[in-house]
């Protein structure tokens, strides 16, 4: 079945360093969403990417969707302690047997002040 792989599983950075998490799908995606889950909290929607090669920015966060719509990345510039949490990508394939989102296993980000 469809799988969404996410790496790295963990990332420890010094405050001010950059951070990137990568998502790869075994099949072409219709769209990809990114969520952030703070420790002890629930996932919160960040953004959705739909178009091939799409790039979207939210302040220090940059999201990219690959040309083949099989991979995506989230890059955070100059991390802050408020960025701590687990970042999940979730891909959807409208033509698949499961129309819902398939979540990656997440990248847990810790930021040392």
């Amino acid at each position: 079945g469809q799988q969404v792989m996410q790496i790295p599983q963990y990332q420890h950075v010094q405050e001010g360093e950059d951070f990137t998490t990568y998502c790869n799908s075994s099949t072409t995606l219709s769209n990809i969403q990114w969520y952030k889950q703070r420790p002890g909290g629930h996932p919160v929607f960040l953004i959705q990417l739909v178009k091939s090669g799409e790039v979207k920015k939210q302040k220090r966060l940059t999201f990219q969707f690959g040309e083949a719509k099989k991979n995506s990345s989230l890059h955070i510039t100059a991390t802050q302690t408020t960025d701590v949490g687990t970042y999940f990508c979730a891909g959807s394939n409208y033509g698949g047997s499961q129309g819902n989102l398939i979540f990656g296993k997440g990248t847990k980000l810790s930021v040392k002040p």
Binding site: S30, N31, Q33, Y35, Q37, G41, H42, P43, V44, F45, Q48, V50, T86, F88, A90, G91, S92, N93, Y94, S97, Q98, G99, N100, L101, I102, F103, K105, G106, K108
Partner: protein
């Protein structure tokens, strides 16, 4: 309401006991999803509903798990004869679409501990 409301926040059950979790989706959202998150953070899809109809139940362990979304009532997820491996946080989410093209709004989750 404007938030997905899940109850209870914590639930402790002895192995073999029944557990029932509740979820009130955001008003106006037609789709409800249940996910299980275990200690390693991985989200496992369980079931989704379109209003009161099951939309996709491919993730449900059918032997012991059941779910309902009835009109004018919170949705529910029930686990008969709980096992230790059922210990997890169960998240409910609602959205305007089932096709993965609109955001999921998650509740705060129910932490189930089976002892």
């Amino acid at each position: 309401g404007e938030e997905v409301a899940q109850t209870p926040k914590h639930l402790v059950r002895g192995e073999g006991q029944k557990a029932k979790l509740y979820c009130a989706p955001i008003k106006g959202h037609s789709y409800v999803f249940w996910y299980q998150q275990v200690l390693k953070n991985e989200f496992k899809f369980l079931i989704s509903f379109q209003n009161e109809n099951v939309f996709d139940e491919t993730g449900m362990p059918k032997e012991r798990f059941s779910a309902k979304c009835l009109p004018n009532s919170p949705c529910s997820l029930e686990i008969q004869a709980t096992k230790l491996e059922d210990s997890a946080v169960y998240f409910c989410a609602s959205s305007q679409s089932s096709r993965g093209n609109s955001p999921l709004h998650f509740g705060n989750g129910t932490r189930l501990t089976v002892t």
